[in-house]
């Protein structure tokens, strides 16, 4: 069930138009109590591509991201309407634990568990029963750290606490932790906002490698970052999906005035 797609099956080199959707949302409305945060959002997320969500603060980017792995379910006052599918299947038909294993998340602030580097990565596979013995756990930890581009730096300090790493390393540790449970989709909410340009470049490079295997949705406030890492960009404004298109088109010739205003810094 939790099979990793092999790269030979990857759609990473296909154009967005030729790529099937991994996640597709239709008519998504989200309410926090009486306040509506998303209005009738339709969005397709192509498999093995990076989709960037951009828009001014409070426009609903994080809200939308949290719909995909049903993180909003835990928010008492939050109500989600509409149809969200993962590989054609309604996410509300899935067991939420299974959904969260298939749809991993990386947050703005690196948030390693107060555990060793090793255990941070081993935690998910253990609770999801992905490994039956110590050797298998080790194997998963090592490959995940390797994929996250962190193995070289931490190989000799796996029993040190995760929090002893630098910010950029912690973020890559969180990515390794997300990868360890073999997800299909990785959601990233401003993953680089606490990082310096070098650490940011490393994560961006990593994102590009990861999309060969996974499907990535990233929220970012940096237009340059969205332009650099994504193939598809969606612009949200006041809870509405204003425009979605190939990243190149959005940043060179957006169709909507509001998109143009936002990406060129002309918002009032």
């Amino acid at each position: 069930m939790l099979q990793t797609q092999t790269s030979s099956l990857s759609y990473a080199h296909q154009t967005v138009e030729e790529t099937p959707s991994k996640v597709s949302a239709r008519g998504v409305n989200v309410f926090y109590g009486a306040k509506q945060a998303l209005f009738d959002v339709d969005l397709d997320v192509p498999v093995n591509h990076v989709t960037a969500l951009i828009g001014p603060s409070g426009c609903g980017k994080s809200t939308f991201l949290r719909c995909i792995n049903r993180m909003n379910d835990v928010v008492e006052i939050c109500r989600v309407e509409g149809d969200i599918r993962l590989d054609e299947g309604d996410i509300y038909d899935l067991d939420v634990v299974e959904l969260r294993a298939r749809v991993g998340m990386v947050f703005q602030k690196p948030n390693p568990f107060p555990k060793t580097i090793f255990d941070n990565v081993a935690y998910g596979p253990r609770i999801h029963g992905l490994a039956s013995n110590r050797d298998e756990v080790e194997e998963i930890v090592f490959t995940s750290l390797e994929k996250a581009g962190l193995l070289k730096e931490v190989r000799d300090r796996l029993s040190e606490p995760g929090t002893s790493l630098s910010g950029g390393q912690q973020q890559r540790l969180c990515i390794a932790r997300a990868i360890a449970v073999n997800p299909e989709v990785i959601l990233m909410d401003e993953p680089c906002s606490a990082l310096d340009p070098i650490a940011t470049a490393r994560i961006e490079e990593l994102i590009d490698e990861l999309r060969q295997i996974y499907t990535i949705v990233i929220v970012t406030h940096s237009m340059q970052q969205a332009a650099r890492v994504s193939q598809r960009t969606a612009f949200l404004h006041l809870g509405e999906l204003v425009e979605v298109g190939n990243t190149e088109d959005i940043f060179t010739n957006p169709r909507d005035e509001r998109t143009q205003g936002y990406i060129t810094g002309r918002f009032g």
Binding site: M223, Q224, A227, F251, T252, N253, P254, Q260, G261, I263, T264, G265, R266, F267, G268
Partner: protein
């Protein structure tokens, strides 16, 4: 320039400066063409020297525009319309620099004029010069105002330049065949006319750049009818 303003005011000011520099450089190029034509046909060597001297001023303006554009690209990381605006400024500056070079070339060629050419031959070249100068003026106005229609209109006028150049070419060839002693002078005139015609080409480049800047697509893709108007087909 785009209608609404940036949140960062200094950004708007820098774009405005870029706009003004293009305007000033364009004005300089106009004067260069005008002076070059007069220098050639009034045998005014002082004016010819003036044209040569001013050419370095044009080069300096181009360098100034390049430096400002580079700074804007690096510091403002422009997107969409702003990015096209800055790229356009670079392209227009480069075309204006080439235009000024052609003006200077005209003066150098013109100095070699030995035999006084026929009045009609001179009138033809002056007409060509006027045509191109008017196109340059209009295209600079279009640039300042971001006026696509005007840019297209200028672009279409280049056909007239090409036709006039073609007929001058045939006229000069006739004079050369009539009397081999004319060959030197009319070859010189032909070079001068060629310079003017090339200026017209750079003006159409600028028109295309303005179109691209505003519409984000090439002008040529949007004018499927030019072949019909010229009666040619491909």
């Amino acid at each position: 320039m785009p209608e609404s303003k940036h949140i960062v005011r200094a950004y708007d000011e820098e774009l405005q400066t870029l706009n003004e520099l293009i305007g000033r450089m364009g004005g300089l190029a106009e004067v260069q063409i005008d002076n070059a034509i007069r220098a050639v046909f009034e045998h005014d060597t002082v004016l010819a020297k003036e044209v040569a001297r001013s050419d370095s001023q044009v080069d300096e303006m181009e360098a100034e525009i390049n430096a400002l554009a580079l700074k804007l690209l690096a510091l403002r990381q422009p997107m969409a319309i702003d990015l096209r605006y800055i790229l356009s400024a670079l392209r227009i500056a480069s075309d204006l620099e080439r235009i000024a070079d052609h003006a200077e070339n005209m003066c150098r060629r013109g100095a070699a004029l030995e035999v006084e050419p026929k009045a009609s031959a001179v009138a033809g070249i002056k007409r060509l010069g006027k045509l191109v100068l008017a196109m340059l003026k209009d295209v600079l106005d279009a640039s300042l105002a971001g006026d696509v229609d005007k840019a297209v209109e200028v672009w279409l006028r280049d056909e007239e330049v090409d036709e006039l150049y073609g007929s001058l070419f045939r006229e000069y060839l006739t004079y050369m065949m009539e009397n081999p002693r004319n060959i030197g002078s009319y070859t010189t005139l032909l070079f001068v006319a060629k310079n003017v015609e090339r200026i017209g080409d750079h003006v159409t480049n600028i028109a295309e750049t303005i179109y691209f800047r505003v519409k984000a697509k090439p002008l040529k893709d949007s004018l499927p009818n030019r072949d019909e108007t010229t009666g040619e087909s491909d």
